[in-house]
Symmetry: C2
Subunit: 714 residues, 2 copies
Amino acid sequence: MPPRRLLAAALLMGLFTTTAQADEGMWMPGQLSDIAAPMRAAGFRGDVRTLADVTRPPLSAVVRAGGGTGAFVSGDGLLLTNHHVAYGVIQYNSRPERDIIEGGFIAAGRSDERPSNPDFRVLVTVGFDRVTDTVLEAARGLQGRAYFDAVDAASKRIVADCEQAGDVRCSVANMYYGTDFYRIRQLELRDVRLVYAPPRAIGNYGDEIDNFMWPRHTGDFTLLRSYVSPDGRPADYSPDNVPYAPPAHLQIARTGLHAGDFAMLAGYPGVTFRHRTADEFEAQVTRTLPQRVAVFDALIAAVEQAGQGDADVRTRYAAQLQSLKNNRKRAAGELEGLRRSDAVAQRREDERAMLAATPAATRGEIDALRTVLAEGDAMGERDLLLGLVASQTQLMRAALLLERLRLESARPDSERETGYQRRDHALIEGVLRQAQRRYAPAAEKALMTVLIGRYQQLPDAQRLPAFDAAFGRTPESLAHALDTLYAGTRLGDEAERLSRFAAARDGRALADDPLIALAGPLVAAQLEIEHARKRRDGEQLRLRPAYMQALFAWRASQGRAVYPDANGTLRVSYGRVEALSPRDAVTYAPVTTVAGIVDKHTGEAPFDAPRPLLDAIARGDFTGTDEPSLGTQPVNFLTNLDTTGGNSGSPVLNARGELVGLNFDSNWESVSASWWFDPRLKRAIHVDMRYMRWLMAEVYPAPALLEEMGLPAR
Amino acid sequence: MPPRRLLAAALLMGLFTTTAQADEGMWMPGQLSDIAAPMRAAGFRGDVRTLADVTRPPLSAVVRAGGGTGAFVSGDGLLLTNHHVAYGVIQYNSRPERDIIEGGFIAAGRSDERPSNPDFRVLVTVGFDRVTDTVLEAARGLQGRAYFDAVDAASKRIVADCEQAGDVRCSVANMYYGTDFYRIRQLELRDVRLVYAPPRAIGNYGDEIDNFMWPRHTGDFTLLRSYVSPDGRPADYSPDNVPYAPPAHLQIARTGLHAGDFAMLAGYPGVTFRHRTADEFEAQVTRTLPQRVAVFDALIAAVEQAGQGDADVRTRYAAQLQSLKNNRKRAAGELEGLRRSDAVAQRREDERAMLAATPAATRGEIDALRTVLAEGDAMGERDLLLGLVASQTQLMRAALLLERLRLESARPDSERETGYQRRDHALIEGVLRQAQRRYAPAAEKALMTVLIGRYQQLPDAQRLPAFDAAFGRTPESLAHALDTLYAGTRLGDEAERLSRFAAARDGRALADDPLIALAGPLVAAQLEIEHARKRRDGEQLRLRPAYMQALFAWRASQGRAVYPDANGTLRVSYGRVEALSPRDAVTYAPVTTVAGIVDKHTGEAPFDAPRPLLDAIARGDFTGTDEPSLGTQPVNFLTNLDTTGGNSGSPVLNARGELVGLNFDSNWESVSASWWFDPRLKRAIHVDMRYMRWLMAEVYPAPALLEEMGLPAR
């Protein structure tokens, strides 16, 4: 039974009246009418049916903006998103003589609105259609790599046909892991301009120190405006362009929310793993994450040691070191969270009960799926290490990239692997150029020693002859190989890399070099790995739908609907304003106030609240934007809404569908929520629209913009 | 009017019924009958009169123990205090083959109880008598140094007369800054034994990281037992001694407290400055504390730089560096707290109103007091710097100590300054010996450069010719002087110091050395400073009572009593269990539970909860010691009781006088409470007696001790 019908059956049985969904769920808008009862029970006061179509108001006001989400807030294309989502736009317009990152920006009028960086995009969804049968038609009856290739080819065909009409960007979204496919059509607005940005010390108050933290006091918002050509079509920047008239815009609420109040949010969450198998949960907690923590620790130690007593090395590797530490922290936080929530045991118990209620035929497919997943898991550590060889090095990466580009370029452009097509050449050239600034031989050898040294410890089943031949099987042979390679290579010279790039993109042979010579067999080995992965991916695409069907039936029997794991498509979640008690005897209220800005203010970044803000707080005139129950100006608030990366800039709506908040972060305890939603600890952090209104009225006034949004200037 | 009578008048006027004391107050027990009404209004259910006599039950159960407070909890001398107060006793009994610091200790029986380190004392107050007239008799009519000497001589005479009887230690306590004097007689129990100590990871769970922190999860308690000779008199350790029968012991409660419940506490708070003048508050916030922070910062930087690239220097100065950092942190915390509470302005406004209501004659004396205080304040930075020269150096300190000892030793022992009498010789010798381990010439020169360098910047009025002659008035002359001194001195050699010590204690001339030669004029200058200080102290003793009288009258007009600032004598404070909201949107509940121990547990010190504790928490059997409203085992709790250093180990009693908690710390925001009690932020942290009972019943069982305390084994 397809999921929709199972859900409908469950609803008819009245099961939702007793459900305890714990507010988990990133729902496709089309599903909302199926869960109308629990939404209304949670406090929603609008018509659920009007939310179900992404191409109609109000969801048609919610768009992809840069790497996050945005929402139109006026009929003239005014778009609200996060300061951090629009950061590139702000940076692009900042000048030494006028640093608008530090000082903020208010356009003096439409003609003063500043063009964004050329690659910033706003995507308005204009079509969302089920294409499952078309995608799977040729794949049925196939297996493995063939199944993968059939799905891939059908998807590419759908995209090509769809984009033929022009002006739209198309994609195929895979829902429920191969169960359903949707064609998404989006207008690609390329002329986006900066209208209003608060100063850095408001938009990013607290910066890294407060990142993932609650209580929070950040005005993380920016207003942009989308423009189109005079005839209403997407266009590159031109002074002749006119404001885009969006299909809908949201109305900003005059009042705020209190603990327990209904809230909902729409946006483009990136990726979650909630419906993965219990085996995958176990692999994540017992192997993948501990392996990641351990290898990142070793890489961090290697970089730090290479930098000891060498300021030049420290400078070259500063960004990479920071990134390694962030990755390490994220993996450790995810591991800690999954353990705290006992996620593996809970998922295992749920799956055991599900399988007991699943017909034998479906169980047979699920067993086959588990076998494929076990095959991938068995190669997990090797694939992690060799993946890092290609991402954490400079010269080695350059050699692998050049060799792969040479191979791919020998084929017609349309048959080349994604990432090596003609349109990717500029990006590759950029990578090859910047290697210059981020490389030191001792550091790269130290990183390679960590990665290949760990690879050498792996059992034979995970080994590749090409790598063993290149580096031997002992620390001594590895050290000798690296010394020889890095003493002999000329790829440290930018001109040497770029001349080979010119050859590679034409599919020509590459000039001799020790690293290039090595890249030949290593890339061949990587292609073997890639082939094996695509074969397993094909099997997963073929077999996971059985697991999902079992889950739909099991959840229906519990009176619960199933949302697809996040995949960058538009989703809606609902829940409520809720306090957080993350530790024994600690409770954080769900609304912060301007008092906390003063508490945190030290005068030094990132806690250097601007003088006009401090003065306005001291004046204490919060008329019309205050929270009456607190007697002061609210700043941020906290909900239990279900979010993940990509939800930055998502509008938060009240029970009547009015805009009350702007999502911008989640708490540290939520890092593990991409796998497991723990209702005790999962929270999302939002800018209170009353704070934005107060800033725009009282601190850095923009009365015309308030009027445009239908708001009083005070 | 004497304070007692003013208070009585206020009570008759019914003023206390409307008072808002904010629970501030470290009351002398004798005052409690005067504040019976507000105590009863706060929830006290016992008879206030029985609390008024320190020599009768229940306060006679409360004693000085080591550097803190303790309370008898059985008729056989069983004494409850903090793990950190008894730490020296535990350490003294720890052996490599049986590390009872780590593992804890439970005596197998009375014969297994372990003697304390010989200098550990328990002091039982047996007399507390007003001696104001006797102390002040000879001083009346005098001024300055003469007033000081007269008070000093009279006090010494009272002590000598009092101790004639033997077995008691006597002292004279100065209440209300020279207004009243009390003779205190105390039994000095010298045979104190270790009975029960939890493992380090319970008694000091969280260590420095959790110090000053709430929420807290520490079992900071230890049980000792006092012994006396068979005829009942204080005695040194002997196996023939018998348990001491205390005049009273406290009964441990079977139930705990909840938010808002009445609580009271008795103990020996060390020093507070609450009744200092507004000028003194201002000096503390605008000069003294900022000067301390700045000079500690400079000393820390000097030590750290001296240790760069020299592991030996780092080792020698590790303890001093830690101490400097603690002092710096403490001063900065006090400054931050006083500013946060706007203490100077509040004290200034209160004093202004008080003076307006004060008769002119008294105001004249207060003006004179302010002049004396201004004289001291004008020399404040110099006295800070030269005090640090004597405390933060090794060889310079040794030279100053030897020279001063030589001078003092030329006089009869009874006339020597405290600290240089015959009984102090062992301590001085210890200081001179250990100089060896904590000295490096480069580091000491760096410290001297900071201190004298800052001294050189002072205005002429603060300068001393001897110091200018020794070090010149420029950085160059200072560097030259230090190079010459430290190149030439032989005091770095222990034998050289000790041979001079032998001469100095006999008042003989000291063998030649550059530092010794310098110490002559420097000590003479220090004696001048000391004389000026004693003159000012005499004037303060003479004049502060006028300020206190004005304060008594002013507070009486407000319906408020006045407690004397803390001075190490027995005090009682009362208040209630209360949550803490230190920052915007943050609330800490007033009771913690064992769940927090598990939350904090990392397996690594200081968060390495012992396995038996974790297992017992997992078993979850908290019968009889649980908090029913939380459904689990409580650990620590928080009150607004008025405490300061010296209150460690203070018993916390409920409304019926039963023992419910053991005070062991306060929160970071309370660091400034020695000057200003801010009811929003001042909290004290206690071990819940139910946690101690559970540990002794379920985790590290000691059924005989529970029985001795009248408690069920479960």
